[in-house]
Symmetry: C2
Subunit: 216 residues, 2 copies
């Protein structure tokens, strides 16, 4: 195998401009006293349900805005909006991640003085969003045990570029005979100190712990 | 919601060069009498297990090569190689999809006269690979019911650009209380005639049907 392994270098020209835009977003959030969380993860890992659960538990403490990124549809924003949360949808059509400029365009559509917590749900993709900071104070990546045992090892850069890993759907671990500890070990191989929280957005297990670790 | 929906246009400059490279790959496959299948789908949807199962059932009929695309690791190629199948790993580092040029570099590493069927397992990503044809005769997309109910509606372009949808992990439908028919209806909304095959790569259910529909 090894002698047949080919490594393709990829240019990183685009990243500089995004970093600048992200820094501007960060200063906009700061000016308005807003805390912002970038929620990344592949499709179907439960990002939206996690944000719904967080919004329910934090509704008395924060005025919350959700910025939803998807190629198409307003399904996720509509779900969160049904909890009484204000939402802005960004439809990226073909773009596989949000970038900082898109988020700034979205933020211009709302009165930021009305909010003190923003959840940005990134496009469902475990790869590309990690390379594009949006100006949020934390980038968290949601993985699901339904993604199989290798998703951490295959995505070391995403883990390195995240401030926290949320392992979701732990309620299914027994039914799927899935070893959650092995995922945690894989994370530890990449980053010895990265916060890892095990949750079930569906049952609510671990969500209070997540709120504590996020310092919300 | 609707008045807050923002649509971001994305340039498509890169796609032309890839289409040319894909046409060259297609002619290389044709010269060698090789049939090639591009297997797309998000991380953890079971692409590798499906290829393993197909290789087992087709081993007597075809001399098979597997080209595996991942950001990092040779896990998938090693799994398929354990069935006695020759493999080539492409590690893309940060690139979120294979492109036709990468595949051509990989094909140069092997003696193509030794094969008559090539499975190309794309990088685990439901979005980007669909925009980059590799020269395969068919692009199939593997979705898993563990990805939740919205993955089809959120990815109309991926569906439109695929020649077939494989719905995997149908053995879990009852345990997850998942309505597989609803996914098929979503596909039908996007393409009225696209072949759809329901399988469980784990139990083998539907795999013979998939082989029939692929005309293998």
């Amino acid at each position: 195998m090894t002698d047949k392994t080919i490594t393709i270098d990829v240019r990183k020209d685009l990243f500089g401009a995004n970093e600048e835009a992200a820094a501007i977003n960060a200063s906009i959030f700061e000016q308005h006293g807003i805390r912002a969380i970038d929620v990344m993860g592949s499709v179907g890992t439960g990002k939206t349900m996690l944000i719904e659960t967080l919004c329910e538990r934090l509704a008395d403490k924060y005025r919350i805005l959700m910025v939803a990124g998807d190629l198409a549809t307003t399904i996720d924003a509509d779900r969160v909006a049904s909890h009484g949360v204000d939402t802005v949808q960004i439809n990226t059509q073909t773009a596989c991640h949000l970038d900082a400029r898109m988020v700034r365009v979205a933020l211009k559509k709302v009165d930021l003085s009305k909010y003190d917590l923003v959840f940005i749900e990134n496009v469902g993709n475990l790869i590309c969003p990690a390379g594009y900071p949006l100006g949020a104070e934390k980038k968290i990546v949601v993985v699901s045990i339904t993604e199989g045992p290798y998703m951490i090892r295959k995505h070391p850069l995403t883990i390195k570029r995240s401030d926290m890993v949320v392992i979701n759907k732990v309620d299914l671990a027994e039914a799927l005979e899935f070893d959650v500890d092995s995922l945690v070990r894989d994370i530890r191989e990449i980053d010895a100190t990265l916060p890892v929280v095990r949750v079930s957005a569906k049952t609510g297990e671990g969500v209070d712990e997540l709120i504590r670790v996020l310092d919300l």
